[in-house]
Symmetry: C5
Subunit: 338 residues, 5 copies
């Protein structure tokens, strides 16, 4: 998640440089064909291009809107994880009462500590790349490779669960699912010991139900790409527009030059090159903006900062357990919070 109001030109160029070169070379070639070879037929009337441009802008608008929704839903789900982590903890802190202060502490700690185990395991599972993952140019990818963590195993639970539980998790297909299962078994065991009544078991099980819903919602977004027919044709249509654009601009600049009087007249159409690059960049950038929030769990520039959220939850929960040596918040790197 980028945390500054304005995006520096350095970062923008890191994304755009390749396209800017392509647009410039392409428009220059067309200008040369027109100007040096005298191919004055190499233009296209602009009117139909206007219609394509507006239709493409609509289409991109639709895509951006849905991509934003995917990001925002992802962020909402993690907000829900924050909220129910706190509810889970206060319910354990208030419900469990063995009469023995240190035994209370022990039970509460076991159940509260397993929770950051779950969120961290979930985080790592969501960070694994998918076959439809976005690939940017080399300059951008190195930026993320430098910062980003993509652990493979469920090692994230170490320190939060017992060794035997860890060994069991290692054999499971989806460790996060089994962490919640273990919470459920623990809760019912406490009830059988008489430490929880029916109402309290009911409330805690409801929170676990909520955790499964939140986990499943993350997995839904992660495992379902933004439907590729919507996403890919957005790119195709944008590039068709962008590739036709210099021909159309040549036409309008050419016509406009008819009114000019001085000797620059012949060179006037040359202005078409920077103008073409600019409009192309606007359209391609609009299109790419959506791409960057389609998949919100990848650890890229505008994704849900799951690592930071996991740490915040851990701090909150340990503060509630009245621990003293709380870990530090995750700090942004190059203005990006991961």
């Amino acid at each position: 998640m980028y945390i500054k109001r304005n995006i520096g030109w350095g970062l923008i160029l890191r994304y755009a440089w390749k396209n800017l070169i392509i647009f410039t070379v392409y428009a220059s070639i067309i200008f040369c064909l027109y100007y040096y070879l005298g191919w004055d037929f190499i233009d296209i009337p602009f009117q139909p291009l206007s219609v394509i441009g507006i239709a493409v802008a609509f289409y991109i608008g639709f895509k951006n809107s849905q991509s934003y929704d995917r990001f925002w839903e992802g962020r909402k789900i993690w907000g829900g994880i924050v909220n129910y982590s706190r509810t889970w903890t206060i319910q354990l802190l208030s419900f469990i009462d063995t009469g023995d202060q240190s035994k209370n502490k022990e039970i509460q700690q076991r159940l509260v500590y397993r929770h950051p185990g779950w969120i961290n395991a979930l985080r790592v599972q969501l960070r694994q790349p998918k076959s439809w993952a976005l690939k940017e140019n080399y300059a951008v990818e190195t930026l993320f490779n430098k910062h980003n963590e993509r652990n493979i195993s469920c090692n994230e639970t170490v320190g939060f669960v017992s060794v035997s539980e860890y060994e069991d998790l290692e054999k499971r297909v989806n460790p996060a699912t089994h962490l919640i299962k273990n919470q459920a078994l623990d809760i019912t065991a406490l009830k059988k010991e008489g430490l929880l009544d029916g109402f309290q078991e009911d409330q805690l099980q409801s929170v676990l139900e909520e955790f499964y819903n939140l986990q499943g919602m993350c997995e839904r977004i992660k495992n379902t790409p933004f439907p590729r027919q919507y996403g890919y044709f957005s790119k195709v249509f944008t590039w068709i527009f962008v590739l036709l654009l210099p021909f159309g601009l040549l036409d309008v600049f050419e016509n406009d030059a008819l009114n000019l009087t001085n000797e620059l007249k012949e060179w006037y159409a040359f202005l078409m090159i920077p103008f073409s690059v600019l409009i192309s960049w606007i359209f391609v950038t609009m299109e790419v903006i959506g791409d960057n929030s389609e998949d919100p769990f990848e650890g890229r520039i505008n994704d849900v900062p799951m690592t930071a959220l996991c740490r915040t939850i851990e701090i909150d929960l340990r503060d509630m357990l009245d621990e003293k040596d709380l870990p530090k918040n995750i700090q942004p790197k190059n203005n990006i919070l991961y």
Copy 2:
């Protein structure tokens, strides 16, 4: 569900070839009438076409947006099925305690196994074709016929329920509904045996209520076409625009040719043919993109991958029952997950 970022040109052509031929032949005929027969009146001013084009682009935008919502709602419902399948299982695993480990296992297995029976029965019921089903050209249909499964009976429950239950289901109008009913009867029977208390029966019945909601939501989308007046006129308006387009392009290219000086002038309007084909393809494709997510349970290129999800749930549930020989995940065919 298509699982690659980019859609190959082979696949695009498989969908588009027929239309591309139609557009080319149609535009060529109009060009010939104009050029060889000299019918220079066979054109239409482009300004009103711009207005139609923009209005049609809006209309398509609306349709795509609603179609996408239908797909995404379908996917959310199946996400909900995943989540509550897990909740159902952990509740059974933690609540049921006869004191006898193997008897627990037996009861838990009966109730957990009936669940994949339900999701698979539901899946097959949703895959049956409807009178408003989309039909593509032959090349596309063969692709899906090769991969897709459209079982007729509720045979999917074999192995998940007892033989007597299976025989009862065979006689029912809607087998999925009765599978949940059987779960409910089982749960209350367990309560009468004293294996569940009131709170636990309440929670399990709430999960069953949720299953009926999820099933009914699937059936709502399946049994209600995207209102045909919205969907069909989108196609009609697009084709009207596309059929008028070559006349309008002839007009703008003709006018543009007036400025040309060399001998190609007469042939300049010829450029209208590829340009016309291109714009036509863009508009028709935009329109068709929506069609492909209107009905999300058909087992087509971008539909909800129910077969894969059913398998995932089955694996999850059997892993929770600590089974060893878990089935494999469903693999995509030609980059499509069914």
Copy 3:
């Protein structure tokens, strides 16, 4: 609900014929004034018309989107009725246990049968016409009059409730409300007899609460027109555009004719007539499409098929009661399901 993918031209013409005649006559008169009387000033520049056309297309887009939401909300509510009808039934089937099989049957049947009474009474209440109901031309209205049922009384409950209950319902302002009230009284009576415990009463009362929510949501849509300032001005603006259109098209065709060389030049503007009819039809149709889903409970071409849904629920419920002679599904008439 129209159940075919494509809408036949016969049906389209049934809706459109009157407007098509109006548009043709209107454009012809304007053409004659121009051509025969030589009123060459009777035209309007097209540029401002473009702006109106685009603004109107937006406005219609907004209206269609909201109208669609009203339909889809109506359909979702009835989907909810389907879901909770099943939940209601399985809860009764599993909870009620007098020890006497035939007494169980009797109680379950009374409470389950009253339910189709409620949905049918609700259906008929929703089908009564309102002061803002849509009126189409004669050809369309006869189609619906032929098929549609608009019973006046709560006779729909006959066969589902006892005679004395029926007589009580006859005197009530809103019979559907009282059917749910009777369910509630029955449930609490069963609890007092000890046939239901507190948890079970709680669950059944929650389902009744849900039924009141669903009924009230239907009544909200039924009793609140799509705000008429939004709906009516959409029509006004569309017709203003459509009435100005021939004047604007005359202008563009006239200008375009200046380039023509042959003797058809003078007649070229004649093309404005079919073109004007076509664009007018597109805009008016776009506008009318929304009208047809504004009020989703009227029993018109694209309304919620409540009659069919009521029958489906009845079949489902009676199948759960293990009845043998299940009624048949409602069949579509002229491809329309009511």
Copy 4:
């Protein structure tokens, strides 16, 4: 709430007359400067006006969409009040059982009657004007002043609560809040008397929680204007467009007149006046349509008909209490239901 499909021209003119005069005078002045003083430079090219027009149409579309949502949310909330009023009543009717029929009646009546007291108090609180209230011209305001009721006190509760309770309410800041508080105190008192068990108290308290949610949602809409930066600039931009319009139309009509041949040529630009008035009216009306649903509780032409809904609820509840002399429904005045 306006209850006819079409809005009469009388009503439209009542809203529009002042603007129509302004537009006509303004366009005429510009025409006179052009025609009589020969200021042929007093025009503006239309192309940039097209862009402003389309941008403004978008902006208005956004505003209308959000305003509609505010109205529809308001209507949904009152729908919720209807639904839970019924649920409240059937729960009281079925739960309360003292063994003594007339004592039951008395308790039920006290709790059911306090409810219309609450909805009517809430209605009056919502009808009080705010500092950002819409003001129309004199002709429109007199229409509403004639019909509308804006009581000041909580006198609406007279007849629904006891005299002592009424006197207590008079001293409160927000009487509606205290009516629900009194219901809660009554419910818990009944439980202490043993007339309700824990489940039943729980359900009734949940309904009261729902009432507070519904009341608070009304107050949120009432106390928060549609953000004025969105609402006010919509008006500013529309009027800027409308004021520039005649200059732009002068330009296009002037250019169009160049092709005319007869003596009317000079007067052709005169057509700009009615055309300008028409487009101005369309844009200003589009903008005003949104204004009229921004604040849905004011008792204006398209607001939530709270008076009628309160009466409907009262009738429903008293019918459930088996009362005989039910009050009449509220009738619309001049086709407007308040």
Copy 5:
């Protein structure tokens, strides 16, 4: 929150003056280059600018729509806080019954008073500035600095919680979270004393769960900027359009001047300056409108009036406790409610 219907020109200028000067100077320079230096090539055809303008207007529309949603969600959350504050209070008032009136009062007061402590602590936590906070020009910032409060500590809880509780809160990372935790501990303690039964504890804990949800939803909006790629490029594209605009307008005014006859012809293009300033202001204002509701908790002109809401809740709750000396409502300053 601005509370008048119309925004005064003084306030608008306070925001706009700097941009207006920039636009005027910029357009004047371009005009001078054209007019005095005779650079008649320094123009750009307007057609492609139209397409950019429309595309940018879409994009801004999307941004405004999402920004509005962020504001409205923020307002809804605080509406939820109002509602559940009341529910919390009536549950405590009706449930707690020690038999001793003054002991009841004491317990109720402790639990009800801690609640305004929580909302005020939450308010102050939400008012702390973030690294992506909006910065306006000096004239605007002084306005907010004059009125706005940005306390640093959790001093807001003084008077609402005991001294020892306050001292504990001072050491916490997130004091609001711990206030709810303390409520939970208190509730369970009351249950252990037998003052609450299981149902009542369940209900009160559910309200606390709701409070955590509401707090977490506020923190989600506060801690997640509107994705900067969407927000920042909106500004970039708008300014690109605005900077190209004078060149394009020069072109259209220049062409339009060809028809003029009198001596003003040469100066006609001068009109481009005010026109350019006007359109630039419209686009930049549209863009800035969204900026102002992106972050709804900052205490700026259109943010959620949390200070006023906190006071309203405090008054409501103390009125329910039958206190006499209720504090006054917060009054708006310069028509802005904070």
